[in-house]
């Protein structure tokens, strides 16, 4: 059996790569898939804290590559789901401690054991990016609906196409209210500009902040809108056809008026 290695990348920092990696890993593991997440951000590791596994690190990616430990010794099994594993990054080395060829070999080894190997890519397009994409069969590009993030995503898409890596897009932190008002690019705008297949949309959700504070990915709780979005994306990744909700719908004049009135009444306490 050979699994799939998927790199989660964006170009720009701070758009939610690590959050997406943690939540997609959590969803796929809960669906019964065996998942390994690699934190490829050597020197600036973060996936461990987002997952709440920071106290369990003994060995890391660079230890495995340098042969200081066996791969199995470095893998941390998640405390919530036994299908989910993390290979943490080193916090003391720099990106040059790893070569693309070594990452390719590592992904090969992991693909024999795991259905999904998710690689959390560092920001930028330098060595760290080249390492993270080296072993990937496909890429999930994360962007927010903002000019800077979309511009960087376009650059990354160009680089990945040159390497013949299949790409899909996740639009993260879409604010439906801003979209309705015409103050945020909607999903169609972003797809038109980037000309890429849409894998899913994650609405802006306070639940992400709360779950990251706790080190418990949103995808492990059901109450958040963002979790529902990640569950849909997980099903799409596994090949199911799941409709993408349209966050840019205006609704009729009367339904909008009704909503505005009820909002106003609630605010003023009428």
């Amino acid at each position: 059996m050979d699994g799939r290695a998927i790199v989660i990348t964006s170009g720009k920092g701070g758009v939610g790569k690590t959050t997406v990696t943690a939540n997609l890993g959590s969803v796929l593991a809960q669906n019964g898939c065996k998942v390994c997440m690699i934190d490829a951000d050597i020197g600036l590791r973060n996936l461990d804290v987002v997952l709440g596994l920071e106290n369990r690190i003994v060995y890391h990616l660079v230890d495995v590559i340098a042969g200081r430990c066996r791969l199995k010794q470095a893998l941390i099994r998640d405390k919530r789901n036994e299908n989910l594993y993390l290979l943490p990054a080193s916090q003391s080395d720099d990106k040059n401690a790893v070569e693309p060829e070594q990452m390719r070999q590592l992904c090969q080894d992991l693909k024999k054991e795991f259905d999904y190997t998710l690689i959390d890519c560092p920001a930028g397009i330098e060595q760290g990016f080249r390492n993270a994409v080296a072993g990937a069969n496909q890429a999930v590009i994360v962007t927010t609906p903002e000019v800077s993030a979309i511009r960087d995503a376009d650059r990354i898409i160009g680089l990945l196409h040159a390497q013949q890596i299949e790409t899909q897009l996740i639009i993260n932190r879409l604010n439906a209210e801003l979209v309705r008002r015409g103050d945020m690019l909607d999903q169609q705008d972003v797809i038109d500009i980037l000309a890429i297949e849409l894998l899913g949309i994650v609405p802006e959700d306070q639940g992400i902040v709360i779950s990251t504070n706790k080190g418990n990915p949103a995808a492990f709780s059901e109450e958040y809108e963002a979790s529902k979005a990640f569950w849909r994306i997980g099903r799409r990744l596994r090949g199911e056809i799941v409709p993408i909700p349209n966050f840019s719908e205006n609704g009729s004049l009367w339904s909008r008026l009704g909503k505005k009135l009820s909002d106003t009444f609630r605010r003023t306490g009428l």
Binding site: E146, R180, I193
Partner: protein
């Protein structure tokens, strides 16, 4: 009157804001045309020699005089090529 207009404006979210996404879209389109047109030097050299090759089928040209430039205006990007011709090649 103004109070009512203000309320209606707030209800429907139209007024000062409400159209910035179109500004974002236009700006992105322009900047991406630029980003995507940035070619590595090898590619530019290849374009240059292929251009000369094609034009040489129809005209006698001086290879050394070709000048190539990508020009940007607010509305568009254009490849400007200047290649002085010596004479047309005969029809045969």
């Amino acid at each position: 009157m103004t109070a009512i207009a203000e309320m209606v404006r707030k209800w429907f979210g139209k007024g000062d804001d409400g159209d910035s996404k179109n500004i974002a879209k236009d700006r992105l389109r322009l900047v991406l045309v630029h980003d995507r047109s940035m070619l590595p030097p090898e590619t530019l050299d290849a374009l240059r020699s292929e251009l000369i090759e094609v034009v040489s089928r129809y005209f006698e040209v001086d290879n050394a005089t070709l000048s190539m430039d990508v020009q940007r205006t607010r509305e568009s990007w254009a490849l400007m090529v200047n290649l002085p011709l010596r004479r047309a090649r005969s029809a045969s």
